[in-house]
Symmetry: C2
Subunit: 739 residues, 2 copies
Amino acid sequence: MDIAALLTSAGINIALCVVLFTLYSVLRKQPSNRIVYFGRRLASVQLRSNNDDPFSLERFVPSTSWLIKAWEATEDEILAVGGLDGVVFQRILVFSIRIFSIAAVICMFLVLPVNYYGKERQHKRLGAESLDVFTIGNVQEGSVWLWAHCLALYTISCSTCALLYFEYKSITKMRLAHLKGSQTNSSHFTVLVRSIPFVPGESYSDTLKKFFTTYYPSNYLTHQMVHHSGVVQKLMDEAERMCKMLSAVSSDGGSLRPFCFCTSSTHQPESVDQPESVDGSIRYSDFEVAPPDNECPVAFVFFKTRFSAVVATQMLQSTNPMLWVTEQAPEPLDVLWSSLSIPYKQLWLRKIATLLAAIVFMFLFLVPVTFVQGLTQLDKLSKTFPFLRGLLKKNYINHVVTGYLPSVILMLFLYTVPPAMMLFSSIEAPVSRSGRKKSACLKVLYFTIWNVFFVNVLSGSVISQINVFSSVRDIPLELAKAIPTQASFFMTYVFTSGWTALACELMQLFTFVCNLIKKFILRNHEDAHDWLMSFPYYTEVPRVLLFVLIGFTCSIMAPLILPFLLIYFFMAYLIYRNQMLNVYIKKYDSGGLLWPVVHNTTVFSLVLTQIIALGVFGIKDSPVASGFTIPLVVCTLLFSEYCRQRFLPIFKKASAQVLIDMDREDENGDRFEEIYDRLRTAYCQIQLTSHELRPGRAGTRVTDATEDIPGSGGPKTGSFLRGVIQWARFMCPLRRAES
Amino acid sequence: MDIAALLTSAGINIALCVVLFTLYSVLRKQPSNRIVYFGRRLASVQLRSNNDDPFSLERFVPSTSWLIKAWEATEDEILAVGGLDGVVFQRILVFSIRIFSIAAVICMFLVLPVNYYGKERQHKRLGAESLDVFTIGNVQEGSVWLWAHCLALYTISCSTCALLYFEYKSITKMRLAHLKGSQTNSSHFTVLVRSIPFVPGESYSDTLKKFFTTYYPSNYLTHQMVHHSGVVQKLMDEAERMCKMLSAVSSDGGSLRPFCFCTSSTHQPESVDQPESVDGSIRYSDFEVAPPDNECPVAFVFFKTRFSAVVATQMLQSTNPMLWVTEQAPEPLDVLWSSLSIPYKQLWLRKIATLLAAIVFMFLFLVPVTFVQGLTQLDKLSKTFPFLRGLLKKNYINHVVTGYLPSVILMLFLYTVPPAMMLFSSIEAPVSRSGRKKSACLKVLYFTIWNVFFVNVLSGSVISQINVFSSVRDIPLELAKAIPTQASFFMTYVFTSGWTALACELMQLFTFVCNLIKKFILRNHEDAHDWLMSFPYYTEVPRVLLFVLIGFTCSIMAPLILPFLLIYFFMAYLIYRNQMLNVYIKKYDSGGLLWPVVHNTTVFSLVLTQIIALGVFGIKDSPVASGFTIPLVVCTLLFSEYCRQRFLPIFKKASAQVLIDMDREDENGDRFEEIYDRLRTAYCQIQLTSHELRPGRAGTRVTDATEDIPGSGGPKTGSFLRGVIQWARFMCPLRRAES
């Protein structure tokens, strides 16, 4: 690929981005698109509705005000709307911008000239210059100028470690502050007990009560059994049917509130975390009298203090480790009720099965990836398909096929990955939504790094690829040979999967189209709050981390990629901020649990870069540079181990000191009774099953709020449309499994 | 190698064994060798001394009574003298005997004939028959008889899994019983706190007291600081000097007790676990007033109940995971005081450093191993050293060189491994002796499996070995090709490192020679109780597990090895029983912590066998047999995972149920006050430093006990002799680092 092809690709993508940004800045001003672009604001009633005049000019003029607003938002605002998880995501981007700014400066001004003038040759005019001229492949063997690369590697490694350390430290501090600040969090007092043993003639509830009153007499408060979701589901379906009937009857009136179990929105507007039963709703206590055959051997046990709850989760309870399994309960809205009824003994088998399935899926994916790789090597393609030869000879087609098509195809295939991984994670039956997301995130991350990075780099074609896996020792050398030649592919990947995907994210294309169909074809003007989603960390974190990996590995090999990458990170910073402020709602907060994953992946990328550099210095006959790189690898690994010792435990366990201090504070303030009252109704299985159909109490509040905003319709969701939406959500590959 | 060479090797070893056994049965009856062969019995005064007549005939007639006594000992006796660890070791041997009996039956009667008649050929007379004829290498490609091997593999795998399951279950039960039975164990109430933060103007002791009275007010009992060993050592050296002077002064009297700090043998004969200070000894409380600069930031904190102590160990204490690090304290006699003064922050660095050092050591060891391998291939040897050609042509020399020399040389080199690994483990600074031993055991195990098994199998010579590591995918095939040809080496290895090493173990050659020098050259008739050792699990467990690995992998490939292996396991069973009953003392008991290691290694061996079988069936063109083997591998791995879920947590954490029940029992019996009194003096740094010089209170009791046995001298150890013993212990490669 030459500079012209690269510019073609960049041009197409820049044009696409500009069009999409302009469209966005217009569309967001239309009241009918509010639910698409301001979902979160609608949910929290911050939206001023001043553009309702249907023919005001301002509504159709593109503007950049949203960019400025996104830029001006402070970290506290992000923390308020996106939680600690949102801040952590922003920090990934800030970290990337910082480190790649440093890398870009040193690599563009030191490494790039060395590469370009590395071999004595007649340089062509810049447009026809091959991209290989800008890579380390152009440097003479045994050149003394390799010290420039070594110096750049040292600078990048040292600044990465320093930045990572400070980020880890500050996020740990924020996590502790988050913990201390969440005084009302019911999950701190709650222990999820699984695998309660069956005692003949006793209900699980009695067995559990007996056990905890015996062994934790002074700290046990009460408990709540989990019931088979089948039973709950049946009740729910009945209720839902009634709700629809009522809704249909009152469709002309538009004033009847949707009937929903366990919600208390009419009584307490700020009761997101404190549902209380109203008349007609089913209280958890009603289940206590349910026949025992409906009970699962699973329960939430409430303790009197946070400390005692954590003690109960950390201890091995019985002499049989497969019984009385305790773990910290997730937040009430975070509980995945359907997983709880799955027997504990199945879990390890399910985990192994999904692991195997994910690995098989990863290897099946090699087929499209190698096809994509074939496209970048045009000569091979025209050999395989001779009838294309005439077409491919045209310069423009050539540029598009080599410069643009491969990464578009890859990107389309990649869209199937997150839902598949989410499915695998669901089969694993994690107890919380955030746990499922984290597990899916890890799977997508491994998948992306393997299939997008390694397979692309190591396989020029299907044939050469088979031999690659048989030789472990040569992998650094293979990588060192392959990365400079694959740099052009990664650049186009940054354009398509980076820039354009960001613009699509901003446009919310799928939701936008659904909304359009609903409002202008089906003529339903209700804002469908089913569409409110939480931030899809499990697709976005792996994507950003992949770019970090590409950035590191290409930095000293093919520094031309760095400016494009920096543009991506800047855009991502602004766009994700905008989306967090306007689009995504926060349902629960894992407290920054993703940061250790980010940290480890970044260290992995850095070490991989250093190992590849070792290989390159080996190929280029520079023993001095190789010699200087080895201590760098060792130091980076030691740094990583130190961080693991110093910070990681905070993300795994709660500290006794903090918990006891919080307990004392509540005790001194006589707040315990109030907390206990709240605890008793915090976990409501039936309500949260309902929540799966509509976005829970947050959603209910939204329904209330929208009534104050002009232009928003009443709660008249017909069952047909609901079916369409359900189908649409099912078909949407990126967001479906989210709910 | 042919049958004759094998028989030569077996003959040499059998002769050696018979001589050593006979010698042992005579020597053990001599009163002067009592300390060598009856150390444990002397320590517990069970020895009847009826053979003191210097010229009774019975003393010089070889006998087998010891074998019968060892055979007749019950498991309860072993439990009493060797602790749970001893029983676990016996169980390894019993398990091996069981599984290899099954394997031997099926392989000798089914697989061996199939191998022998596998190819249609003229069989020579049995003596000149090459050993390869008995291996799977002799089976025709595509033979239908491979189902025999497949069936044997299934039988062996299924019986291994069943036996392993029942062993794990029964050992778990024993561990729980052991826990419940050790009511007086001070370590249950004690938490080791490391990395106490430095607060200006406060001693560590004050800081600690403040922390625990704040956060564990109802459960904190008291604490005891650890002091820099330099300070303690200085005191000790002074005392030791005085002790020697006193000892020298009273050497003619022989009635003066050795002066030893903190012992209370005169007051309480059964006070092994409950030392109390007598007049003249230094109490731990004396240290409380010591200047704070002598304190380490390490302390033993005593809690009021077992449950609260375990809670404190399981929780993360502070917001900085590198401060206030808590862990379960080891038993008082198990504490490795010298490690405690090492700063906690160094530990992770030390661990990494020793890991690297151990890996380097492993690879350096390739040199002797490949040299040994060269010896089994005589043609290569005579090519390299042409002057040997004449010598090697002689039949007898040939047999010795190929059949006997290689494993003797390997064995001699292997004797340097355990002390080296023990040294590495000491650098890691574990807090307990049992922890150090377990760490050394793991290192020796990995080392042995890698260097004795893999390197021997995979490397015919230095040259062919380098290429082996570059190809991962081919390893099963390589192993499948190599194992049948290397079977002869492993057989001779069983003879030398198995049979003869057992006989040497029985003879206690080194201690015996030292004793001889002392008693007949130096004319010192005191029994040196410094020689009393605990069982060297870290050398013996890896040795036995290596034979298990060899047994599994060779079972269906070269079944001729199985009878020899069975003989080894039978002998080991009897001899180790005898040694446990008579020689080794029990200083502390880890409660069977080694069993998970044994279980995992056995599963690893089994899976390796199955993978090699896969390779063999592949080479032999038997897709059906390969197809049947794959589900076997999967099932074995699932079985291993199930055991990990079901049993392993019991070996990692104490169960709340058990601890609370024990606490309640003590509370109801009003035994807590008594326990607290004992706790306050349980951990005595100065006494245990003294213990390192002589075997502690157990040793002191021994000194008392021996006075009742005729023929044992008084406590007259001259400083010169002590120096010699110290030197001897230093030089003894197998036992030195033990102490």
